[in-house]
Subunit: 416 residues, 2 copies
């Protein structure tokens, strides 16, 4: 049988068209990035475009009560569908590939099936999930977590952004507060194509990565409460400067992650928000986020324990209070070996080089993995695989390779 | 001659009334603070109230082209006036005394003269100056610096806040873009009453402080440019994390100020602004402010040189760029010994204990000191003299003592 091929240029044009929604020019680099933060007007516009494309591809479209959008292509038999998808929301400083490649790639698979009039036994269902990034409402994989039942719908709808706006209100505002039940019946399998967002595949010269799972992720928000006071008149020994405590924390985390003492740990303090945040006032309060990643659950647990102890030490040393709030926590996820094997075999058949790789980022696939056999295909990225940055870039060839693999895998899995 | 006395309860009522404009309740402490950031609607409302009070006290009121507001009480002779005043703008998390005590205290002196029908030979002129805090447009003592000719009017009017709004536009919006020439003819003398904003007088049990001058102040804004990237996928050794560099800077400054190696240096990083500031993105850029104070110009110069060298070291060590922008710089200011002597003598006569004290904060008085003999009276504050904080508090008795001294000093200086 002739090998199935998607229409690479059409995939690329779709990526470009969606990438124009929320586009902005980076002040310094002059590179055009994407800002489609979840449930903003730009996200709403992007969603409307993709939903229209779903419908134009003949899919039966539904939107659920957390705003996840599904498009179903009927199979010849009434069986659980093979599923694929990702997200189209972005961080505020994004490129055009993160998430979108998975959604538009799945759409391209359906379009290619349509072009050739191919039927599958199992239905094929494609999806974009709400707020995968967590950049606005503080909880990532929001939509898929609700779909698989890990997060209660009511709690998700009541989450608020910095301005106190709720998920529910913002979904309604952009016309994506659907009525379809949010709990997803278990698909037969789930496969997601995504950019690697890291340097490994590109450095190793691989065409594709077969993802073995996702490293453990731990997010917390720390609030350091000291005492704001006048910068000019307050003697150094009377200060309770929350900014100095935050600096100690940032450097300790950096040291923990670079020391090798906690395995392959990564640590990031991305948000640092001093109050009142003015040149001549000692910060009385600093809110900061802590993002820990580890491919090993035991190392993660040890790092969390040691961090908590260090935070206690800081609190006594500087006479400040430090409150901690958990915002996300997922264990190490293992993807289905048999689905990985299908992907690897198709790589071999197409003479595309590949290697197993663990995902550094969280993905909707990790939520779906609690429902059904799941795996992911990683596409390499240029410039050290930089992502969450306007420089994010995978070549047309890299994208086509990844979606061709997705296409062949979905079609194979759709056999009853 | 009977000793001159102001009406303390009236002064207190005025402080309370002005303090209600821009009042807010602190989220945590539930204490009511004041937010009258320069040229906001609240500042405009405060200005309108005080201008009305100036007029009701029979003063000839004028507003200049940078929004400084002056009220003149005629003398019996046409001589250079004795001047007093301060500011009524505030940092966003303020109490009700900073600046306001100087303006409303000067007003109370005029009201008291009016009550007794007392004439002075020299005119008495009272003032509130625009944006003393510098908390919005980045340059403190803005109005008084323009009035004495240190800062060109055009440059001041074009300064912008974080949203790109100009001083000129915001002055116009609140109706305080005056037409009177901004350059102030030299007064005969300038005396300002202000809260200490520090712990020294209260700890020493003094009724008042006779201010000898102002320590040197250096403000700069540093922008650290690294590379934003995905927190989960970017290996530690490939990061250029601007947040980690900011943390190093904060701790080095803290160390410099606490080591004693730079004399009585104080150092504060009040603003820390990572971009994009999200949990799962390595900060690609951090803007932060540096506030240095030193009673010794030579020590300040040495600290600035050493800091600049450290910044260079950080830039090479972390492969980041660090840009520095100077936002304020004033040398050690020495106040007029003869005016200090008048204040000290009146303290002695009233059996109020006092001591010489150097100001840790910048004040409009330091600008006026380039025009005429100048001094300040400091009123102690409770709670370690905390300021730029809703807890800021001086008792009615402390305020009355300070303004009584101001009253007697102004009247004495107004003799030809």
């Amino acid at each position: 049988m002739e090998r199935l091929e998607i229409d690479g240029p059409r995939l690329w044009r779709s990526l470009e068209e969606l990438g124009r929604i929320g586009a902005y020019e980076d002040e310094r680099s002059k590179i055009v990035g994407v800002n489609r933060l979840a449930l903003t007007a730009a996200d709403g516009e992007g969603r409307a475009l993709v939903r229209r494309w779903f419908a134009e591809a003949g899919l039966e479209v539904r939107v659920d009560r957390i705003g996840n959008c599904y498009g179903r292509r009927k199979g010849t038999r009434d069986l659980a569908p093979v599923m694929s998808g990702s997200h189209i929301d972005s961080v505020p400083t994004a490129g055009r590939f993160d998430g979108c490649l998975g959604v538009l790639g799945a759409l391209e698979c359906v379009r290619s099936l349509n072009d050739r009039g191919l039927a599958t036994e199992r239905p094929i269902e494609i999806a974009f999930f709400t707020d995968e990034e967590g950049a606005r409402f503080g909880t990532d994989m929001l939509g898929s977590a609700v779909a698989v039942g890990r997060l209660p719908l009511e709690r998700a709808l009541q989450l608020t952004d910095r301005d106190g706006l709720t998920v529910e209100g913002e979904l309604r505002k952009i016309g994506f507060l659907g009525t379809h039940p949010e709990r997803l019946p278990a698909p037969h399998a789930y496969v997601e194509c995504h950019i690697e967002q890291g340097p490994i595949l590109r450095a190793a010269g691989r065409d594709l990565g077969v993802v073995t799972g996702v490293q453990a992720i731990s997010w917390q928000e720390l609030t350091i409460v000291g005492k704001s006071a006048h910068a000019g008149t307050t003697p150094m020994n009377l200060r309770r400067d929350a900014g100095v405590v935050a600096a100690r924390l940032i450097l300790r985390l950096h040291e923990m992650a670079t020391s090798g003492e906690y395995g392959e740990m990564r640590a990031t303090v991305g948000a640092i928000d001093p109050v009142p945040g003015l040149v001549n006032i000692i910060p009385g309060r600093v809110r900061c986020t802590v993002d820990l990643r580890n491919p090993d659950d035991a190392q993660m647990a040890r790092a969390e324990t040691d961090l908590a102890a260090f935070v206690q030490t800081l609190a006594s040393e500087y006479h400040v209070q430090i409150e901690s709030r958990r915002t996300a926590k997922t264990p190490r996820i293992h993807f289905a070996p048999d689905v990985q094997a299908v992907i690897a075999r198709h790589c071999d058949e197409a003479r595309l080089s590949h290697q197993p790789i663990i995902s550094g980022a969280g993905h909707d696939a990790q939520e779906l993995s609690s429902l059904c056999p799941t795996a992911m295909i990683f596409v390499p990225g240029e410039y050290d695989g930089i992502s969450h940055n306007p420089r994010e870039y995978s070549t047309p060839e890299q994208c086509t390779n990844g979606v061709n693999l997705l296409y062949r895998t979905l079609v194979e899995l759709a056999r009853a």
